[in-house]
């Protein structure tokens, strides 16, 4: 019932605005009656349907104020929200991405600043005045040529750099001696499987799922026996990782924002993505940008009386996959190669698990 109450209030406020607005459209005029006495008459002022000079003046100026406000909003978001942004890329391949992003953002920032400025400044500057005639200016091939050519040149550059980066990231054929890991998605969990000593994953299919073999590894495939199934992802620093993604039910997306990495997990097919971790988890925790972000987070958590947060890399699901989509995550630990291998050795292999 309270909802209905809210609606009534809203309607009442709207009606209020309507009424006030009606009242202000009446003006007092002083007229003479037959006996030459002053009489106050209330008459509805004739309004110009297009817009009066006063309207133009007010709203032209409003646009100017709006422009200033918009600039402040842009500046605030660009500079003061910096602390909540992701820290620098934790993968080697992501560096190009960060550069490309910076270049794109500077470019669109300049264009945004300039065009919004022109748009609102013109709206202010040329606000209508009675009896002024606008300039009849219908066409200029020179101007049009300029603003077709310049974006074309700039975009050609961006496309070139973008495609170079894209191919660099997506081309996994040149990776030397990579570590192959399968990332396996299901509602609403992540699992992973290391390729083991032979660095080849055993075949997998949902038709093999049985009991403890939760990701359907084909146990008749000899490559599968030494595979290592895990529930927490460990990666060695400085080694190229090639991920093979599978999903058992619906679409998921493996999103690792700190590494600038994302790939959909598609039931019925295997997708791929690769990167080389650059910083261990420990190193990332010490990074200045991370420290600032984590401090900010902990200030908020402390105010709410929650435990302090310690930075960790994460794998999260970024394709709508059902009710608990918002809580489908897996921790990623990046460590030195030696530590990684000693951790991996301690994990039971597929053969040991299924036995």
């Amino acid at each position: 019932m309270l909802a209905l109450f809210y609606i009534f209030i809203a309607v009442a406020v709207a009606l209020g605005i309507w009424q006030v607005n009606k009242l202000t459209s009446y003006r007092k005029t002083i007229l003479k009656n037959d006996k030459n006495e002053d009489v106050v008459a209330i008459a509805k002022s004739e309004e110009n349907p297009i817009a009066t000079e006063k309207d133009n003046d007010i709203h032209g100026k409003f646009f100017f104020v709006f422009l200033i406000g918009f600039y402040i909003l842009m500046g605030y978001c660009l500079f003061f929200l910096n602390d909540i942004m992701l820290p620098e890329s934790a993968s080697v391949e992501g560096e190009n991405d960060d550069n490309l992003f910076l270049i794109s953002f500077v470019l669109i920032g300049i264009v945004q600043f300039a065009t919004q400025g022109l748009l609102f400044y013109f709206s202010f500057k040329y606000r209508g005045i009675n009896n002024r005639k606008a300039l009849f200016y219908a066409d200029s091939h020179k101007l049009e040529l300029i603003w077709t050519t310049i974006p074309t040149i700039v975009l050609t550059g961006l496309i070139g750099y973008g495609l170079y980066t894209w191919n660099d990231i997506m081309d996994l054929s040149t990776a030397e001696n990579p570590i192959v890991i399968e990332v396996y998605a299901q509602q609403f969990n992540w699992q992973a499987r290391y390729a083991g000593a032979d660095n080849t994953l055993g075949r997998g299919n949902v038709r093999n799922i049985k009991g403890i073999n939760t990701i359907g590894v084909d146990m008749t495939d000899v490559n599968g026996a030494d595979d290592v199934p895990v529930r927490e992802l460990h990666l060695p620093k400085g080694r190229k990782i090639v991920f093979k993604f599978r999903s058992q039910d619906v679409l998921h997306s493996a999103y690792m924002p700190h590494f600038r990495a994302q790939m959909n997990c598609v039931p019925g097919m295997v997708t791929e993505f690769g990167f080389t971790p650059k910083f261990t988890t420990e190193e990332m925790r010490m990074q200045e940008e991370t420290v600032i972000k984590v401090n900010g987070i902990n200030k908020i958590r402390k105010a709410k009386g929650e435990d302090p947060y310690v930075f960790d890399y994460l794998l999260l699901c970024n394709k709508i996959c059902g009710a608990s989509h918002y809580n489908m995550q897996m921790k990623i630990v990046v460590e030195e190669e030696a530590a990684f291998y000693s951790w991996l050795k301690k994990q039971p292999t597929m053969a040991e698990v299924v036995k």
Partner: protein
Amino acid sequence: MSEHHHKETFVTKYIFSQDHKMISKQFLITGIIMGVIGVFMSMLFRMQIAWPEQSFSLIEAFLGSHQTDGVMDPDMYLALVTIHGTIMVFFVLTAGLSGTFSNLLIPLQIGARDMASGFMNMISYWMFFISSVIMVISLFVEAGPASAGWTIYPPLSALPQAIPGSGMGMTLWLVSMAIFVASSLIGSLNYIVTILNLRTKGMKMTRLPLTMWAFFITAVIGVVSFPVLLSAALLLIFDRSFGTSFYLSDIFISGEVLHYQGGSPVLFEHLFWFLGHPEVYIVLLPALGITSEVIATNSRKPIFGYRAMIGSIMAIAFLSTIVWGHHMFISGMNPFLGSVFTFTTLLIAIPSAVKGFNYITTLWKGNLQMNPAMLFSIGLVSTFITGGLTGIVLGDSALDINVHDTYFVVAHFHLVMGVSAIYGMYAGIYHWFPKMYGRMMDKTLGYWHFWITAIAAYGVFFPMHFIGLAGLPRRYYSNTAFPLFDDLSDVNVVITMFALLGGASQIIFLVNFFMSIYKGKKATQNPWKSTTLEWTTPVEGIHGNWPGKIPTVERWAYDYSKPGHDEDFVMQTEPLKDGEEES
């Protein structure tokens, strides 16, 4: 065609009307009702995002069994997001915008008595009405409405085991959309035929107002791409109901292996986005067309670069059909395709830039008349630029990897197609209201409406880019599972406050609109001193549009402030003077 003045009953005049003006009003009112539902849903889920654990009586009152103690359930959150998207994109911004103004303006601006087929036009509206009704009914299904996102990617949308909304709710969604596509196709064919065949004497294609060009090209894109959505939906119905495997393969869910084999969800993504991307332009181009008209009229200046505008509309339309893959960079398709789609996508920036610059130049040295329609048009150019620019980031496959499906995307498309198209729709309503109802809308309320909406829209969608850059995925019921995102919660609260403000301010519009229908000041024949043909018809809007002969067109639509004329506008019907050149 002129013996249209037979006696009409209530039913033939207001319900099964074949008059394009009445049909356009029917589209508009239905669109507004759907819009109220769609916007209200966004208010509810924005409250959930900002205050995830708090209880609201508003939610308790509206969500019934889909909430516990005033906190909505995760399934319902996804359902609201899904239906909000569907309703806004298709029912409000496709049918509500294009249906309203194509129907109203095409015969009036080209000088025709009515649409080529009034009967088909009527069918188009009633199919839209039926599909709206089915969509609204789907909200009341016990297991909840469709909740797999408005993109309804299978297998989530195909398997009720995966999410309850994929049961009856999804079936109704698909049925509703199939009827909607049929409605849209019938409408589009009618628009195309009418514009090509029924132009009055002298109305060459190069004399058409830009609104006509925009609606014409929009209809062409619709005819090319909507059937593909229909086929995608049909195949999904087959997979769901008849056991085929177009999109499904190797699925293990609720403890059992399903029989599907050999299909791929990526196929669905291709089919969906082959419509889905052109759909963006189906929504946006009519808004840009309306803006061209409103900005030229109220700048008292010809639109700058008329031919370049037509060229860019055509270029955008062509490119829009070969860029769909940029929604799928990380879908698992071949990376080479990613390169191709990056290339074609970034090309779209060129015609879009031309349009943006042309609008700004039209304002330059104008004599701007700041009525509400003009304010919304200027607002549109602003949000179109802001939203369009971030498209350069998203269209670049390498950058898309990290911002794909985050709030950066949500901010981008809401500004560039959502807010912009809504602004275009409002501009159109304020501008052509006198043509629809013979009365004026209240100007001051219009000003209030614009300024609150403009502030709220940027307040919502500008900061939203940055929480996306911070890595926050969209469609998360709550962000509390990730301490990483704790520092974004304040920004989310601010966004929600602006969203509530923006949503509430639309009440001003609703009051203004419905009161003006009955109480508005009587309109004059050409209130905005515009040049186009619709302002030569009688104010009361008669069947057949012109009482006598249809006027002949003598010049293009943008002779504002032309030297050598006393008035600052010259009607299209006025013959060229001796020695006067047509621009």
